[in-house]
């Protein structure tokens, strides 16, 4: 059995040594969290524990996915995308490039859209994670963004759709009345090779109206 990492309640102390160590392991992932300071994120996630080294073997962690706490044992190198897909079997999240360029793996981490292939699962400890599977209500009612994507045919092959919807949701959670330019900007990290963008823009505008 591996080590166990849990969310820390008390704020960890930041030493130069473990700060640098943490950066090497987590800077990419944390950088993917838009708009929040890195140190804050590290502290919040409980990564900055004093002189603690984990890996390369598996460690037991708990993630908060779609409102539920799930326990899993993973190697520290496992990305959030792989953890979600391979360990939790939530395969709605896709991987298109595995290096943060296509956005197919977009999930919401603490409410922000992140590329889960560029986020280590360990970086997500203690933060709410929302995937495409979490958008439906318990009564199987679709989220307005999902409804609008179907209604406007904002998809073709569907492989980018989960990520596209998550980026759109992140936008609408923050901005109730986005302009087309703001919508374009919000999904600009999500590549759709089929070229469904015009319908996506319409769907997100329509979803915004429905959510009012």
């Amino acid at each position: 059995m591996g080590d166990s990492i849990k969310k820390r309640k008390d704020p960890p102390k930041l030493s130069r040594r473990n700060f640098l160590k943490s950066i090497s392991a987590t800077s990419v992932g944390v950088a993917a969290v838009r708009g929040e300071g890195m140190v804050g994120q590290l502290e919040k996630a409980g990564i900055l524990e004093k002189d603690r080294i984990v890996g390369p073997g598996s460690v037991a962690i708990t993630l908060l996915v779609n409102g539920r706490e799930v326990a899993l044992e993973i190697e520290p190198r496992i990305t959030l995308a792989d953890a979600i897909r391979d360990y939790l079997n939530l395969t709605g999240t896709k991987i298109g490039c595995n290096r943060g360029a296509c956005g197919a793996c977009t999930v919401l981490l603490d409410g922000k859209a992140v590329t889960s292939c560029m986020t280590l699962a360990l970086d997500a400890i203690g933060l709410p994670i929302e995937t495409i599977e979490g958008l439906e209500s318990e009564e199987n009612k679709l989220h307005p963004v999902q409804e609008a994507f179907i209604e406007h045919d904002a998809l073709q092959c569907g492989f980018c759709t989960s990520g596209m919807i998550m980026s759109a949701k992140a936008l609408l959670d923050e901005n109730k009345n986005p302009s087309v330019e703001e919508i374009k900007s919000a999904v600009s990290g999500n590549l759709c090779r089929c070229g469904t963008y015009p319908h996506i823009f319409k769907a997100v505008q329509d979803a915004a109206k429905q959510m009012k």
Partner: protein
């Protein structure tokens, strides 16, 4: 036996009566006077819920008990002999279960960086990746060439030394040319060109484009005794089945290929490939299911691409704009593959008596080309449609006018031009190029599309109606994103008086009836007629059962909006479910098969015209497409919503091709420098212009549904229309793709 049916055919509402001979087993084909409830309307795709909730399972998502992860070890060099492969360390690496060879004997040649050498399977994907790096391969490096121009030179290294070449210009890489008309030496056309009032002769170049589907190529292979199941991200379930059966010498009946959801293909996923066979081999040897999905880099290197081109177009015309001759000489590199021809537009777009085309593929040490959305056409249109534009400016004729004048025989095109011109606002365009003052200049351009009407007869579907009223439709066809399931359900609903959501579809398994590969824009044209014939048979059975219950003749009954009623007395009726309750044994099944077209239409080709409105920043060289207006035709439109989406997608891929995409090789190492999605640039949300579409409805009644495809025509003219608009904006021709800021600034003399 057949029957004669009177139908109304024509463009939009311009209809004429016509008689078609239809097999007795088929319904009267839908024609210009058919009043349809679902067909032609905007219907959201019926499987949208699966794709928007993450429930859709792609090949990428298949996970089987005990499944291993495969990894291919590929050549690091563009040209070499592999003299030794040492798998000792890899074989001992954690989790590795099996290793398979691709070639039985050493040494063997590798001809591009990324070529498959050996494969292994391990318990996790990480273990497989790690072990693959431990395979020690000894190479004897050889000279290579990755560049079209260099490959055509006399002293260029030969990519293949064992294949007979045309020996053109002394290069060993130029293959036997394809010449049209056959055996012509081109002297006749030169004589015609010599007599022309005006001649345009220019060289146009296009780049290599990779398909870059969101779901990479891959399969999951699983053996059960002597039976094999392959989940494949493919555009052709049956083709994969046939190839796998042939390669492993097993009966087709033992192979099942499954493609439930598929993350894009664009032509590169039409066949089984080396990775398919390696996965099947690994699964056999390891006696466990094997998942082998390629990564993004492998995708760029080895799974196909649109070849580049260097095309010399010569056009001769009279003073009044009548084109008298078009000559094309074209070279292109499909890497180590084939299919770099570009002559489609030259041969098919214009009413020109004298056409001569000469096309040769040129081998380079690069991954093989594969069909890519309208193979050869966007390249060909980029050259031809600019050359025609150049002729128009030279003669002082409106670029739209010269097109109208030279396509008079194409009635559909003639109907499309005025619609496009009016809705786009062509008349507001300044006559002169570079008419605008200021740094940012606006321009408008037009270009013709061209593609073929392709279908295969033989598609075979089954419909089952149950006594609880439910309806199932089964077909082996795969949905690659075009959304074929929705028209299929719409057709059944139309015929049975139900709604599309009432129809339960099961597709994407070769154990169901044969269906064509989704390539050449043939799926809708091939599949929907079979569905309608099956649905028509189901309708007959329902009417028969109802007639018995209602003690009347079935000819006196009709089936509409969920009920059967007497044509002359609507009070005599039974609901759909009431009739279904009476089905003997609780269910019946009927089949439908796509027959050859009822007659040969004039529409062997698909037309279409696109208008582009661009802005060019003459200081930064940046081209921004502001608006595209597209007019297309695809026979009878099935689902107007998904059709519009398909056209948008074609246009966006065309813009991407015009301005951004480019496979770049390092000439010194022969390696691709941008095998990813950050430096291989693809148009994204920020680059999308306003796109407006108009579909000219064609009523042909050539099949029971009259459908024709649209996937490919929509991408053919976009790059050319943008290029023509760029010329109109800045007054300088950009004859090379992609039209990057550097090329614009160079053309403007600023670099």
């Amino acid at each position: 036996m057949s029957k004669k049916e009177k139908v109304f055919i024509g463009i939009d509402k311009d209809l004429k009566e016509f008689t078609v001979e239809v097999p007795d087993t088929d319904p009267k084909p839908w024609d210009g006077k058919s009043d349809l409830k679902h067909i032609g309307k905007r219907i959201p795709r019926i499987d949208g819920k699966f794709k928007t909730t993450g429930r859709a399972k792609y090949t990428y998502d298949i996970k089987l008990p005990g499944m291993l992860y495969g990894k291919i070890v590929r050549s690091q060099y563009p040209a070499a002999m592999v003299t030794k492969i040492d798998t000792t360390r890899a074989g001992k690496a954690p989790g590795v279960r099996t290793i398979v060879n691709l070639y039985d004997e050493l040494p063997f040649a590798v001809r591009f960086a990324g070529q498959e050498i050996i494969a292994l399977a391990a318990e996790t994907a990480h273990q497989a990746d790690a072990a693959a790096r431990l395979v020690a391969i000894t190479y004897e490096k050889k000279p290579f060439v990755v560049d079209l121009d260099k490959a055509m030179k006399k002293d260029a290294p030969a990519v293949f030394d064992d294949i007979k070449q045309a020996d053109m210009q002394g290069s060993k890489n130029i293959r036997e040319p394809r010449i049209h008309p056959k055996d012509s030496d081109g002297k006749t056309i030169d004589a015609v060109l010599a007599k022309a009032d005006e001649v345009v002769e220019e060289v146009y170049r296009t780049q290599v484009q990779t398909h870059s589907s969101m779901e990479t190529h891959g399969v999951v292979a699983s053996w059960n005794e002597d039976r094999l199941t392959v989940w494949a991200s493919t555009q052709g379930t049956f083709r994969v089945r046939d190839q796998v059966a042939e390669y492993f010498k097993i009966p087709k009946s033992k192979v099942r290929v499954i493609t439930k959801f598929m993350g894009g293909g664009f032509g590169s996923k039409l066949k089984a490939d080396v990775y398919t066979m390696l996965a099947v081999k690994l699964a056999k040897k390891a006696n466990a299911p094997v998942r082998l999905m390629l990564d993004r880099k492998e995708e760029h290197l080895a799974t196909g691409n649109r070849p580049d081109s260097q095309q010399t177009v010569t056009i001769g015309a009279k003073k009044d704009g009548k084109i008298t001759a078009i000559k094309l000489k074209s070279f292109g590199t499909p890497g180590v593959g084939g299919g770099a021809g570009t002559s489609g537009p030259v041969k098919n777009t214009y009413d020109v008596e004298n056409i001569y085309t000469w096309e040769a593929d040129v081998y380079t040490n690069a991954g093989p080309a594969a069909p890519f959305r309208a193979p050869g056409m966007p390249q060909g249109a980029f050259a031809l449609e600019q050359a025609v534009d150049e002729m128009a400016y030279k003669l002082g004729i409106d670029p739209l006018e010269i097109r109208i004048k030279n396509t008079l025989s194409d009635k559909v095109r003639q109907a499309e031009y005025p619609i496009g011109a009016e809705k786009f606002g062509w008349s507001k365009r300044p006559k002169q190029a570079a008419a605008e003052k200021g740094v940012i200049k606006r321009g408008m351009g037009v270009a013709n599309s061209i593609w073929y009407y392709i279908y295969n007869s033989g598609t075979h579907v089954t419909i089952t109606v149950n006594d609880d009223g439910s309806v199932q439709l089964r077909s082996g066809v795969q949905d690659i994103g075009g959304g074929i399931v929705t028209p299929m359900a719409m057709v059944v609903a139309e015929e049975l008086g139900l709604t599309p959501a009432d129809i339960e579809l099961t597709i994407g398994e070769t154990v169901f009836g044969w269906a064509p590969s989704s390539g050449g824009s043939q799926t809708t044209a091939g599949v929907t007629p079979a569905v309608r014939i099956a649905a028509y048979h189901a309708r007959q059975r329902i009417l028969e059962i109802a007639a018995k219950e209602m003690e009347t003749d079935m000819q006196a009954l009709t089936l509409e909006s969920g009920k059967v009623f007497a044509k002359n007395d609507q009070s005599k009726q039974m609901s759909w479910t009431q009739v279904c309750e009476k089905i003997p044994q609780g269910e019946f099944s009927v089949t439908g098969e796509r027959q050859p077209d009822y007659y040969e239409t004039e529409r062997y080709k698909i037309s279409g015209v696109q208008f582009a409105d661009v802005e060019v920043d003459t200081e930064t060289g940046k081209v921004s497409v502001k608006r595209i207006f597209a007019v297309h035709d695809c026979g009878r439109v099935m689902d107007r919503l998904t059709t519009e989406n398909q056209i948008n997608g074609g246009i966006i891929q065309g813009i991407s091709y015009a301005l951004y995409e480019n496979r770049i090789f390092d000439r010194n190492t022969g390696l691709m420098v941008n095998p990813d999605l950050e430096y291989y640039k693809i148009a994204g949300a920020m680059e999308i212009p306003v796109i407006e579409t108009h579909i000219v409805d064609l009523n042909l009644a050539q099949s029971s549904t009259g459908a024709i495809g649209i996937g490919e025509p929509a991408t053919v003219p976009t790059a050319a229309a943008v290029a023509n608009a760029v010329y109109h904006a800045i007054g300088v021709r950009i004859r090379e793709l992609p039209m990057t800021p550097a090329r614009i600034l160079t053309a403007l003399g600023k670099l």
